[in-house]
């Protein structure tokens, strides 16, 4: 066996030139940051849309001058039309679920830290990794195009030239169908109303492109984790973040293709005249729909939700992994029940494939299958409860350091409990008679996805920022950001349950048509005020993030006194992570407060008997080349 040369170990040399370093980079660290930047843009768009939605619901008929200038058709006289509102609902959901919750936790932090945490020098397929980001980015451009294809008459005119189903310029800001795009509304095209033309085609195309990007990424994650763990890094010594990214990747690998399949069928119904989802004998907008027969709208729902349910676990699992990791680090205690946590991650991921029907209890599908889905759904509560108990167990007897990442991790636990527990209500068929498609559902999924998951990302950001950028984020601003956001999100989403109890249906552009909704006015106003304050408070985060990149206090290798491999290398890491040295792992990932050890943490790379010592002086990381 030839003596290993430095060239063999160092897989690809450090890039030179701005384009190869920051644009078309195959370095997983750069790609991770690119995903995070994409998510930061997408979430801004999504939040602005949600504020517009809240303003419309609270003060319907309000004249907003800028809307008149930007969208004269969709908001004539600056007053939002119902179809404009519905397109906001659709785009808000689509952008948030796909381009925020399915990018940053996995593609962002996972890409950056999975290889480092397992001791690898990059992902298994770096070029594929770069492609997965750029494909996702193109998907984002296409969904943004949908805004203009519907909202702008000129762009709409160009797109309409592509064909009948590409009719644009209806004045909305995208398709109308919710992020779920139920057929046949989404399949019929413009005869079914505004926003059903180009907006829907672009929506399908964007999602299809996104599917491909995600699949490329998932493949990479799984192969990397299985094949490239360093010496001593057994599966049971991996941080829980790695288990979470691994399971998430498996879920993505198996569920995104189903969405892609469904999307292809829907697109064919729209442009090739097929009838996968369109039954015969439809009478739409005053005329019979010719040339379609025999399709099943329920088939779309089955295909969509077979993907859709694992998707929500894709959105939350990385946050759970990060929370376990961060809680342990700042509690100075091992994770309580590490094996049970791994089991719970698999159980949640696995069971997640068998419960999609709980989105469809009253859809017209077999009521017998509804019973089966319902019982399986409530079973998922069990591994979720295990994780919650173990988080509490991690904190019990701890010595908690209340840094900003810790605050957000604790917030995650609180919000996950709040959001998850109402799953017990919604998962029962008998209760779904009332609650399906009401704000009670919206409350549930926003708390788990829109808040808990985001808190997981905030925790991860504050935690790993020093490693990624070599500087600390500002703690005071971070804490202020936490307090306003934590109280704010509860103030926004707990009242949604009350609206659901009143019977308030989802996706209503206005609430003033029904007497049974008249007691909701106070709630609606309260929520909107809370939402505006909370959204504005995110400026603190954006400011802190970008300002600290250049002006933050310099961070050492291990500012948090954590144990995992990323904290044993400089901040930011050298190009190939470990400066040509192959790390060896001797311990599990959460050896905190070990009795008899010189410090209250033992790094994974500390050899038997080696203990890290705190010299006190701020180091600024290694002599590995930065870029």
């Amino acid at each position: 066996m030839a003596e290993a040369t430095h060239e063999e170990v160092h897989r690809h040399p450090a890039p030179t030139g701005f384009i190869r370093k920051y644009i078309f980079s195959i370095d997983h660290k750069v790609i991770g940051i690119q995903y995070i930047m994409l998510a930061l843009c997408a979430v801004l768009v999504g939040m602005i849309m949600s504020v517009l939605m809240r303003v419309n619901l609270t003060w319907p008929g309000t004249h907003i001058h800028i809307m008149e200038t930007l969208f004269p058709q969709g908001a004539p006289g600056g007053v939002m039309t119902p179809e404009f509102y519905l397109s906001l609902v659709t785009m808000h959901g689509t952008i948030m679920v796909f381009f925020v919750l399915t990018t940053a936790p996995q593609g962002g932090f996972g890409n950056y830290f999975l290889p480092i945490q397992i001791g690898a020098d990059d992902m298994a397929f770096p070029v594929l990794n770069m492609m997965s980001f750029w494909v996702t980015f193109v998907g984002f451009l296409v969904i943004l195009l949908a805004i203009f294809a519907e909202g702008n008459a000129t762009v709409g005119g160009w797109i309409s030239k592509l064909g009948e189903s590409f009719a644009g310029g209806s004045g909305t800001v995208g398709p109308i169908g919710g992020w779920t795009g139920y057929a046949p509304l989404s399949a019929l095209g413009k005869i079914a109303g505004p926003g059903q033309g180009a907006g829907v085609n672009l929506w399908i195309i964007s999602i299809a492109i996104f599917c491909v990007g995600s699949l490329l990424g998932a493949l990479n994650f799984i192969t990397t984790l299985l094949n490239m763990r360093t010496r001593g890094m057994s599966l049971m010594r991996m941080p829980l973040t790695c288990w979470a990214w691994f399971t998430t990747a498996i879920l993505a690998l198996l569920s995104f293709p189903v969405l892609l399949g469904g999307g292809i069928l829907l697109l064919l119904d729209r442009i090739a005249g097929t009838s996968f989802f369109i039954p015969g004998g439809l009478y739409v907008s005053g005329a019979l729909v010719p040339n379609h027969a025999g399709g099943s709208p329920l088939l779309w729902q089955h295909l969509f939700w077979f993907f859709g349910h694992p998707e929500v676990y894709i959105a939350i699992l990385p946050g759970m992994g990060a929370t376990s990791h961060i809680l342990s680090t700042f509690a100075r205690k091992p994770v309580f029940g590490y094996r049970a946590m791994v089991f719970a991650i698999f159980a949640i991921g696995g069971l997640g494939f068998f419960v999609w029907g709980h989105h469809m209890f009253i859809s017209g599908m077999s009521p017998y299958s509804a019973v089966a889905f319902s019982i399986l759904t409530l079973s998922i509560g069990v591994p979720s409860a295990i994780k919650t108990f173990n988080w509490l167990g991690t904190l019990w007897g701890a010595k908690i350091r209340f840094t900003t990442p810790m605050l957000f991790a604790i917030g995650f636990v609180s919000l996950f409990v709040a959001g998850g527990i109402t799953g017990l209500v919604l998962g029962q068929t008998s209760l779904d008679f009332f609650f399906h498609d009401t704000y009670f559902v919206t409350a549930h999924f926003h708390l788990v996805m829109g808040v808990a998951s985001i808190f997981g990302m905030f925790a991860a950001t504050y935690f790993w920022f020093p490693k990624m950028f070599g500087r600390m984020m500002n703690e005071s601003i971070g804490k202020l950001h936490f307090w306003i956001t934590f109280i704010g999100v509860y103030a926004i989403f707990v009242p949604f349950h009350a609206m659901g109890l009143l019977g308030m249906p989802r996706r209503y552009a206005r609430f003033d048509e029904y007497e049974f909704l008249k007691n909701s006015k106070g709630l609606v106003m309260f929520v909107t005020v809370a939402a505006i304050i909370t959204v504005v408070a995110q400026v603190l985060f954006y400011f802190n993030f970008f300002w600290s990149m250049f002006k933050g206090k310099i961070a050492g290798d291990n500012p948090w006194e954590a144990t995992t491999l990323e904290w044993s290398i400089p901040s930011p890491p050298p190009h190939d992570n470990f400066a040509g040295i192959v790390p060896t792992v001797y311990h599990g990932a959460y050896e905190f407060s070990v009795p008899g050890a010189p410090n209250d943490f033992i790094m994974q790379t500390d050899g038997e008997g080696i203990a890290a010592d705190i010299s006190g002086a701020g180091g600024n990381g290694g002599n590995g080349h930065r870029h």
């Binding site: 030839a2 290993a4 060239e7 063999e8 170990v9 001791g119 690898a120 298994a124 397929f125 998932a218 493949l219 799984i222 192969t223 094949n227 490239m228 360093t230 010496r231 690998l253 198996l254 995104f256 293709p257 189903v258 892609l260 399949g261 469904g262 292809i264 064919l268 005249g273 097929t274 009838s275 996968f276 027969a293 025999g294 399709g295 099943s296 088939l299 089955h302 206090k553 290798d557 291990n558 500012p559 948090w560 006194e561 904290w567 400089p570 470990f578 040295i581 192959v582 060896t584 050899g607 038997e608 008997g609 080696i610 890290a612 010592d613 006190g616 180091g619 600024n620 290694g622 002599n623």
Partner: protein, 227 residues
């Protein structure tokens, strides 16, 4: 509020068991420490490509599982299901792709025995058979269109075109991979790492190609027998 440390330095190791002893910690600070672990674990192993291709196969399979379940549901849902008479040329397609599995397997084994010339020849045969397969599919499509069998006319037609197109697209990807292998036979690298990768890639592409074959047989059978 607890203070947070801003830096950590390694101390001189005590009692490291086994392996070369690092001089000053693990040498991350570039201060000349030796290797901390066995760099074999950083070496490429063909398992990487193998795992990758199996993952890809898993996801592609899920796509066809989704389309197949749509097929089955749709066939039961209404009374407009009219299967077509299978164009005879598709039997030729099937034969070609089965033979191509044999040729690519021959190629893989030749490479394993280090017979580079045979490897290249069998690869070329496989590519030719693959192109033949695609050509026969296009012939089948042309025949059907000339008989007036259009995609939108009834659901069986829709699925027929969809399945053959989806399979064909993935097969074209396989053809690109085969072409890449062919190019690499000319520009064989002369490092151990490069050779391992070349052999690993050949193995992975072979697995993928067999999958394309099995997938075709599955789809063809479905279209033939599930009416």
């Amino acid at each position: 509020m607890a203070a947070t440390a801003t830096g950590t330095n390694q101390v001189v190791p005590v009692g490291v068991g086994g392996g070369p002893r690092p001089k000053n910690g693990n040498g991350f600070h570039g201060n000349g420490g030796g290797r901390g672990g066995d760099d074999l674990s950083f070496r490429f192993s063909p398992a990487r490509y193998r795992i990758g291709v199996w993952m890809a196969i898993g996801s592609i399979l899920m796509l066809f599982v989704a389309l197949t379940s749509a097929y089955i549901v749709r066939s039961a849902s209404a009374n407009d299901w009219h299967p077509i008479v299978m164009p005879k040329v598709l039997w030729l397609s099937t034969t070609l792709i089965i033979i191509s599995s044999i040729t690519i397997e021959r190629a893989r084994r030749s490479l394993k025995r280090n017979n580079q010339a045979a490897y290249g020849r069998w690869l070329v045969n496989t590519v030719a058979l693959g192109i033949g397969f695609v050509a026969s599919q296009l012939v089948a499509w042309r025949q059907l269109v000339r008989q007036g069998v259009y995609m939108a006319a009834n659901p069986y037609n829709s699925f027929f075109y969809l399945f053959t197109a989806a399979h064909g697209v993935h097969l074209l990807g396989g053809l690109c991979a085969l072409t890449y292998l062919l190019v690499r036979t000319r520009k064989a690298r002369n490092t151990l790492d490069g050779e391992l990768r070349r052999v690993g890639a050949a193995d992975a592409v072979t697995i993928y190609w067999h999958f394309m074959d099995v997938l075709w047989i599955g789809l063809f059978s479905l279209l033939l027998f599930w009416k």
